[in-house]
């Protein structure tokens, strides 16, 4: 992607030797993870259930403090960031969230301005403009006065992404953004993420959708029981042996037939149970 110019710059996220164990757990959820998320590209974190994807995300975002290792954002240790400063740079769309009180789409998106406003400042024209632009970008401007509770799954997810974009972030973190969405809505979100990355936003995508990640991400991190199994461009990470070993199921690897810019991307096809022994 934008390797030549930006690769030498400070990475967005950088984690070294991260170990995190939940209280009472027998094995650590993260057991020595190194990650470098380069600035300005789409980076995907993959792995089976329980491999530590969400834990890694929370550690990168400072919601969980690791027992060992260090995490930096934009070259600065996470503990040195104030939450508002960080939120002015990093927008996050967490997995499912439940609002305690009914809100409209516009109100929800406007909450994304908090890092710039703080508890007291008045909304200025620039704040309202950022909210409108974020809603347009995510195609929810026409839903602005609707109650969030009345939206479909896809609309709700786009609204939450709009909230993160209203933060005007340099880095956007999406946790399972396509879970339980149909093909069109799933593709729309990946296209949006990819367009944002092309525009210079670093997008970190945590997902179960291996094939989508392989088509859209510049680099993948594949986690296996709290450890990185592989890291690199999709063609290097997605191999039959590795996917079978990590996911514990026989697969074949096909190449995306195209047409499209992602023709030739490796695609995982899980095989039906039968007579193929895993090696």
């Amino acid at each position: 992607m934008s390797d030549g110019v930006v690769a030498s710059a400070t990475p967005a996220f950088e984690a070294r030797g991260v170990v995190f164990r939940y209280a009472g757990a027998r094995r650590p959820a993260l057991d020595g993870v190194d990650v470098v998320v380069p600035e300005g590209s789409l980076y995907a974190v993959l792995g089976p259930n329980g491999s530590g994807k969400s834990t890694l995300l929370r550690v990168l975002l400072g919601a969980l403090v690791p027992q060992a290792g260090e995490v930096r954002y934009a070259g600065r240790a996470l503990g040195d960031w104030r939450r508002r400063e960080l939120a002015a740079r990093v927008g996050v769309v967490p997995q499912g969230e439940e609002q305690a009180f009914p809100t409209t789409v516009r109100e929800l998106v406007a909450l994304g301005r908090y890092p710039h406003l703080g508890p007291l400042a008045r909304e200025r024209a620039s704040d309202r403009r950022a909210v409108e632009e974020a809603m347009l970008r995510c195609d929810v401007a026409e839903l602005a006065e609707r109650s969030v509770a009345s939206l479909s799954g896809g609309e709700r997810q786009r609204t939450r992404i709009a909230r993160a974009l209203a933060q005007e972030p340099r880095t956007l973190v999406l946790d399972e953004p396509t879970a339980s969405l149909d093909i069109r809505h799933e593709m729309e979100i990946l296209e949006l993420a990819s367009a944002l990355a092309a525009g210079g936003v670093t997008v970190v995508l945590v997902t179960h959708a291996v094939n989508l990640a392989a088509r859209y991400a510049a680099r993948l991190l594949l986690l296996d029981r709290g450890r990185p199994a592989a890291e690199g461009p999709p063609r290097q990470v997605i191999t039959r042996e590795r996917i079978e070993a990590v996911y514990g199921w026989p697969v074949a690897i096909a190449l995306h037939p195209g047409p499209g810019p992602d023709a030739g991307a490796p695609q995982v096809v899980a095989l039906a149970a039968g007579d193929h022994s895993m090696e």
Partner: protein, 337 residues
């Protein structure tokens, strides 16, 4: 109204203007109505110091301080109720849900049972305040001791359990006490503004107004907290600090209110909830609106308590419940329709 960028801000003004007007009217009505009914003109003249000595005494010595206490306490209870609803992420939370009123009641009933109330008018509120603060401390200790952070679900459970314990203590004290103290304690428990004085007004104003202003400052973080703690953190809210501040300040507000007037119910539940149904849950509007509407509501309830049954004054908590609950039920059903 002019469209354009100022439209959003202007929409916020009318609710507060309407409620401010309602509060002013409620204040005048509560001063005018009573055993001696005064004309609005007489009330205004007395307030300006131009009425006869008898009217002046009624207005300035009796009704005005009582009205001020009602407005302050009603506003404080409704504001802290709104804050507890946001903190616990539960639109049906009320200011007493975390056991503050139970602790205050134990203090007050103990003061009656031990005969301390004979030592002076200040002893019961002081004992109630100490009880309330002790309850806040105990409930917080339980909730914060479970994990590194303040878990609001544990907080809620700790509050409910502590409340049940306090109730048992109150019943025990009432069982052991004599008939006179029993009756005084019972009246205290139902809540009353009849002890209002200028001293009370000054102490309450000096204590409650800054505390309520602090709660107003938490409005925007509370909007974000309603999304859940993790999303709020990622949007830049120092979640643990905001929860702690909201819990401690709202509890202190409730403690002073209950210590002064007893546990007057429903103001802190019905008022913020009704306002949420009317104007949404943006706390920058909701918190000041709750303060104004809570004050007006308690003023009117207290005026009714003083006047509807002739010379016999009703417990104000009975009036707030009798009026508040049907209004609340109506709002709920209208919303569903």
């Amino acid at each position: 109204m002019r469209a354009g960028p100022r439209g959003a801000r202007q929409r916020r003004v009318p609710p507060l203007g309407v409620l401010g007007l309602a509060l002013a009217i409620a204040l005048l009505a509560s001063i005018a109505l009573g055993a001696a009914r005064l004309a609005p003109g007489t009330v205004l003249r007395a307030l300006l110091g131009r009425a006869g000595p008898a009217d002046s005494a009624i207005v300035l010595q009796l009704r005005l301080p009582r009205a001020m206490v009602a407005a302050l306490v009603g506003g404080a209870l409704a504001t802290s109720g709104a804050v507890f609803q946001a903190l616990l992420r539960n639109p049906l939370a009320d200011p007493y849900i975390l056991g503050v009123s139970g602790g205050a009641a134990v203090g007050a009933v103990a003061a009656f049972a031990l005969g301390a109330s004979a030592l002076g008018a200040w002893t019961v509120p002081a004992a109630a305040f100490v009880g309330a603060i002790a309850a806040v401390a105990v409930v917080f200790r339980i909730a914060a001791g479970v994990g590194r952070a303040l878990d609001t679900r544990v907080l809620l459970l700790a509050g409910v359990v502590a409340g049940a314990f306090f109730n048992a203590v109150i019943l025990l004290l009432l069982t052991l006490t004599g008939a006179g103290a029993f009756r005084s304690a019972l009246f205290w428990l139902m809540g009353s503004l009849s002890a209002a004085s200028w001293n009370q007004v000054l102490v309450l104003a000096a204590y409650l107004l800054p505390a309520v202003a602090l709660l107003f400052l938490l409005a925007r973080p509370l909007d974000l907290l309603a999304l859940g703690e993790e999303p709020a953190l990622y949007l830049g809210v120092p979640v643990e600090r905001v929860k702690l501040a909201a819990y401690v300040v709202a509890s202190l507000v409730v403690a002073a209110s209950v210590a002064t007037c007893g546990a007057i119910g429903f103001v802190g539940l019905v008022v913020p909830h009704a306002l949420r149904l009317l104007w949404g849950s943006g706390h920058r509007l909701l918190l000041p609106a709750s303060f104004l509407a809570g004050g007006a509501f308690l003023l009117l309830a207290d005026t009714a308590a003083r006047t509807v049954a002739g010379a016999q004054e009703l417990p104000v908590g009975v009036v707030t419940a009798l009026v508040g609950v049907p209004v609340f039920a109506l709002l709920l059903t209208r919303r569903r329709a």
